[in-house]
């Protein structure tokens, strides 16, 4: 009677697709550029896989062929995390009228 965890993951996947669908429609068009940069930034969560791969080496061989790919992926994903800062810079610029004279 045990259900395969894959099915749960599939459910999570499908439900998240719906959320993505709705979330975008609710974003105001003037923030579409930050939207692109923030969705890009959150995809750097792939770093989770990169860390696992990099740490898979043993104490003797830190840089096995597979962990090297992990380390490279860590750098790439970490650069991408900078996307949050880009977004922050952009969002910081959106101001209402009253703040104008600050």
């Amino acid at each position: 009677m045990e259900i395969d965890p894959f099915i749960f993951r599939l459910s999570i996947f499908i439900l998240s697709i719906f959320i993505g669908y709705y979330v975008v429609w609710s974003v105001t068009p003037s923030l579409h550029t930050p939207l692109m940069s923030v969705t890009n930034a959150i995809s750097s969560v792939i770093i989770v896989g990169a860390i696992i791969a990099a740490l898979a080496g043993t104490s003797e061989s830190v840089f096995s062929i597979s962990s090297i790919f992990g380390f490279l992926a860590i750098i790439l994903a970490a650069i991408n995390i900078g996307g949050f800062l880009v977004t922050q810079r952009m969002l910081q610029m959106y101001k209402k009228k009253k703040d104008k004279n600050k």
């Binding site: 003037s30 959150i42 995809s43 962990s67 952009m90």
Partner: protein, 467 residues
């Protein structure tokens, strides 16, 4: 080391934080908070990953070093990048995610034990399928984004590269990837795996080269979507909830965003993807017309005079403002006008510029408060009651042919009704058409005054004349 259950809960939390990050963007007020949610989600995911790995081997130091190196590079780019370079930055960042997905898939394929996926040569079937899909989509994202980056950066020409049989070739290569993945499942061969990745790189290149430079925004968003699906594929392989949620979120949101863009341009998604748009522009036709009709052109003084005597002005910025970096000068001009008690608002077309929301970011950069900036549907009725429309570097988004000529490539695209204003000022360098390559009849209207110059220079001159 924390238990698998606890880390699963934390990954869920980080997924939810990412959802909240996107939700925040529903208004500028909540958007900054949303971004913090995103950062928090990322930190949680990273910390939990460290905690959930039992034998923190001596590699840990290196991991942290590489993390910091990457982070430093990212931060450096983030602080140095000019706002106008946003489109290519996003494209460049996508390529990173794509390549990272490929690398993680390779690592998993070479060392499946580390991920609990079986042993080399006997990887679980489901995991194998998931990781090869992740790798293939990741590779397409990577090479496609590189091409998009090169086109946007101007390193590669923006014009579509087409050849006969292109779509057939793409189709065959696509089918090839599927067949190879199937074959991979049977043989578990390393070589087949590498071949899948290499062909996918090729597909990525071939998919993007036929698409014209100006269609790149749709492409970026589509690649964003791809990078999400790749991440989700890896998420299934690693059985990681945060990755699955994020991947699905990014995948579907990117797809919807490209759909929204295509709709705002009144073009079908398929026609964008098949490419070739902007190659065979109707420029002969255009040239002909240009020579025939008379045009009223003026200088900064005329423009300043007209606006000083207006009671309401609507600014319509377009791609040319971005090119000329005229937003700061524009802001100065508007300030001067407002001091003279003239009502000034901004009208933004959904696809003005070369990226959705492009104009909004630039205006925000120039400190224009966002409550003076209006979307097309909110301001289009106001043109009829306004005195001057100041069109700066915009063209297609004002072209009335979209309303009148069913044969025009932009027919059906909603446009800003600038012609309803008492007078229209057009700041651009020449009579040449915009991205869609079609002539704009407004240039020849009686109530239009053309201001031929670079947008920034002209605006600065107007500012001087307003004193």
């Amino acid at each position: 080391m924390i238990s698998a259950n606890l880390s699963a809960i934390f990954y869920l939390i980080s997924g939810v934080l990412f959802i909240l990050a996107l939700r925040g963007l529903s208004s500028p007020d909540t958007s900054r908070q949303g971004n913090y949610f995103g950062i928090a989600g990322m930190i949680i995911a990273i910390v939990v990953t460290f905690l959930s790995i039992g034998n923190l081997s001596s590699s840990l130091v290196y991991v942290i070093i590489f993390l910091l190196i990457g982070g430093a590079i990212g931060a450096f780019i983030a602080f140095r990048i000019p706002m106008t370079a946003m489109p290519e930055l996003v494209a460049g960042f996508h390529s990173l995610v794509g390549l990272a997905a490929v690398f993680v898939a390779i690592a998993a394929f070479l060392n499946p034990e580390a991920f609990n996926l079986g042993i080399v040569g006997r990887i679980k079937l489901a995991s194998l399928v998931e990781m090869s899909i992740g790798a293939a989509v990741g590779a397409i994202t990577f090479s496609g984004s590189i091409i998009a980056f090169l086109k946007l950066r101007g390193i590669m020409s923006g014009s579509p590269i087409t050849f006969s049989g292109q779509h057939l070739l793409n189709l065959l290569l696509g089918i090839g990837v599927f067949v190879l993945i199937f074959y991979l499942c049977k043989t578990q061969s390393v070589n087949v795996f590498w071949t899948v990745i290499i062909i996918s790189f090729l597909v990525g290149v071939l998919l993007i080269i036929p698409i014209g430079g100006a269609d790149m925004p749709v492409v970026i968003s589509m690649l964003n979507s791809y990078s999400g699906w790749a991440a989700a594929g890896i998420g299934f392989t690693l059985e990681n909830t945060a990755l699955i949620i994020t991947g699905a979120l990014v995948g579907s949101s990117g797809a919807i965003l490209s759909y929204i863009m295509c709709k705002a341009m009144n073009r079908s998604f398929i026609s964008v993807i098949l490419g070739g748009f902007g190659a065979d522009s109707a420029s002969d036709n255009t040239k002909e017309k240009k020579d025939q009709k008379p045009v009223k052109s003026g200088n900064a003084e005329d423009a300043a005079f007209l606006m000083k005597n207006a009671s309401s002005v609507i600014i319509v910025p377009g791609y040319g403002m971005a090119v000329a970096q005229a937003q700061h000068a524009l802001r100065e001009m508007v300030d001067k006008l407002k001091k003279n008690d003239i009502k000034v608002t901004y009208a933004i077309h959904p696809v003005a510029g070369r990226m959705p929301g492009h104009m909004n970011v630039l205006l925000a950069e120039a400190n224009v408060p966002y409550d003076e900036v209006f979307e097309l549907e909110d301001i289009n009725n106001d043109f009829a009651n306004s005195d001057v429309a100041f069109v700066i570097g915009a063209n297609d988004v004002t072209n009335p042919v979209a309303k009148t000529d069913p044969k025009s490539p932009i027919f059906g695209m909603p446009v800003l009704d600038v012609e309803k204003c008492k007078s229209v000022l057009f700041v651009k360098r020449s009579l040449s058409p915009g991205y869609a390559g079609i002539d704009n009849e407004l240039f020849y209207k009686d109530n239009t005054l053309m201001l031929f110059a670079d947008a920034k220079k002209m605006t600065e001159d107007i500012v001087k004349n307003l004193d």
